[in-house]
């Protein structure tokens, strides 16, 4: 039971992360790999505040989201001004650089990690965290759905189709990109806040660049630019590796097997179904 509930925690967490990342990369067309950094900034902000102050958890989690959203400007303002590819390059630097800084900052625990985050739930701990994260995930998916329909969604779509034609109609593409980036990053920060309270211990290597590959795979397999795609991708990519543990294979086979399945999945999808399991809707929907 405990095992099943911990899976639900992971699913809630990764649906939130992949859906918010989908907003950035799938809808905004902004190629960034720094999503784990905003997740980390949220987690560390909440962690540090909870260790050093007696602020209410809701306040510290909100602060985590706010710091992540604000930090996104540091990446988006200079690099989006130039053009798309520069964002990818600067995001790699940002991902590696911020994690390196965290490793070397004493007040966030440095490389050995931040411990002593208070336990805010006494009974049925995992179940309550699973519930909170699943609720957050559902709220994020519904938010993305609402945002990407109606006038804002139409503008996002038009911008992605042809940014120059979009600008020549008097629309401010830069504003939209920066807003989408901040929203997606802020959501990752909120997820980080919950994550901090759940694990009560943070280390920099929980937010390494491999996390980025994981989240990106969920988005690609599920369906980039579709509302429910990342949910399907996240559930699948968390459930599948867990499912094969029931085969009772020896540990030396299990490790590589997971890696092979993971990689094979990405390759198969890129060749056979690049739009992902849940294809984005095509014409005339943003009304």
């Amino acid at each position: 039971m405990e095992y099943f509930v911990s899976l639900l925690v992971m699913i809630g967490l990764y649906v939130t992360l992949s859906s918010s990342f989908n907003l950035i990369i799938g809808y905004g067309g902004l190629i960034s790999i720094a999503h784990p950094v905003f997740f980390a900034l949220g987690a560390y902000t909440t962690g540090v505040l909870s260790v050093n102050t007696s602020l209410h958890p809701l306040v510290t989690i909100a602060a985590g989201g706010a710091v992540a959203a604000l930090a996104s400007f540091m990446l988006s303002l200079p690099s989006l001004r130039i053009s798309g590819d520069y964002l990818l390059i600067t995001s790699i630097g940002f991902q590696l650089g911020v994690i390196e800084i965290i490793k070397n900052l004493d007040f966030v625990g440095g490389a050995s990690g931040l411990s002593g985050i208070p336990n805010i739930v006494e009974t049925h701990r995992s179940l309550k965290f699973a519930l909170a994260l699943l609720l957050l995930a559902a709220a994020v998916v519904l938010f993305v759905r609402k945002l990407t329909r109606g006038p804002y969604g139409r503008a996002i779509r038009a911008m992605r189709d042809d940014e120059l034609a979009f600008s020549a109609l008097g629309r401010n593409a830069m504003n939209i990109k920066i807003a989408i980036f901040a929203l997606g990053s802020g959501i990752a920060g909120v997820a980080g806040g919950l994550y901090a309270y759940y694990y009560q211990y943070l280390t920099p290597d929980q937010f390494e660049i491999l996390q980025s590959a994981m989240i990106l795979t969920m988005v690609v397999v599920g369906g980039m630019g579709s509302v429910f795609g990342p949910t399907v991708g996240a559930v699948l990519l968390i459930a599948l590796p867990e499912a094969i543990t029931f085969l009772n294979l020896p540990a030396e086979v299990m490790g590589p097997l997971r890696g092979i399945i993971f990689t094979a999945l990405v390759i198969v999808f890129l060749f056979l179904r690049p739009q992902g399991l849940v294809a984005p809707r095509v014409a005339g929907e943003a009304q």
């Binding site: 006038p151 804002y152 139409r154 042809d162 979009f166 008097g170 014409a283 005339g284």
Partner: protein, 252 residues
């Protein structure tokens, strides 16, 4: 006549190639000016310079007294520069109606902030834009296509939608880049009718076009460009009969 567009000493070169050579140009309300000249004369580049797609090296561009040349593309559009593109540049994944809606002169829904704090203004603008888009489509006889995907309609219809999109903003200046190229049949007649109607509303229209009968029928004057330079400006007939132009199009 009210001057809508005023260009003074506009210069632009790409490397060693001069694409705008000291261009002076005035465009008045209600004027329809045909921009003619050989390929590479800098006609489309002039549109790109006016709309801000390409920054000028030197010179001044103003619209109804407001200086444009230091502004980014979207702000020039907001000040009243509407344009079409030779290759339409429609939003390919969207419906005909959505292509028009996104082009409204007021579109508060593009700001995430205003979606929250000014929801009623967003809604009002949506309604206004929707009515306007339907009205333009009806004028073009394309009302039935409102919900079709732009990728699924004919080339001539796509050209018309490109024009319709530019009409959504009521801009005082309209730049049309080869509106008739590849357009035939009923779309051709519609295009002529709409451009004539728009000119009658008092917009200043500048049109790059190779179709001589279109220029004869609609333009109040014409400009002849060669190698980034305005060689001649005058009445349509006089210009079409000028020796320089005849040599260029038909040889010596």
């Amino acid at each position: 006549m009210n001057t809508v567009l005023s260009i003074e000493k506009l210069n632009k070169r790409f490397g060693g190639v001069v694409v705008a050579d000291n261009i002076d140009l005035q465009l008045g309300a209600g004027e329809v000016v045909g921009l003619i000249g050989p390929n590479g004369a800098g006609k489309t580049t002039l549109f790109n310079l006016i709309s801000g797609v390409v920054p000028a090296d030197a010179g001044r561009i103003s619209l109804a007294g407001k200086r444009l040349d230091t502004l980014p593309v979207y702000r020039r559009a907001r000040h009243g520069v509407a344009r079409t593109w030779q290759h339409m540049r429609l939003f390919q994944s969207m419906s005909v109606l959505d292509n028009l809606l996104v082009a409204g002169s007021q579109y508060p829904g593009e700001s995430f902030w205003r979606l929250i704090v000014a929801a009623s203004a967003v809604k009002a603008a949506e309604t206004h834009n929707r009515d306007k888009a339907h009205a333009i489509l009806s004028r073009m006889g394309l009302a039935a296509l409102a919900n079709a995907n732009v990728a699924d309609i004919t080339f001539g219809q796509q050209k018309l939608i490109g024009l319709a999109r530019a009409l959504m903003s009521d801009s005082p200046l309209l730049l049309l880049d080869e509106p008739m190229a590849g357009v035939e049949g009923s779309a051709y007649d519609t295009m002529r009718k709409i451009v004539a109607e728009e000119a009658a509303t008092g917009r200043a229209i500048c049109v790059v076009e190779h179709n001589v009968s279109f220029i004869r029928a609609l333009c109040t004057s014409a400009i002849f460009m060669v190698r980034g330079r305005i060689v001649e400006r005058g009445g349509v007939e006089a210009l079409l009969e000028s020796r320089a132009l005849a040599e260029l199009y038909f040889g010596k």
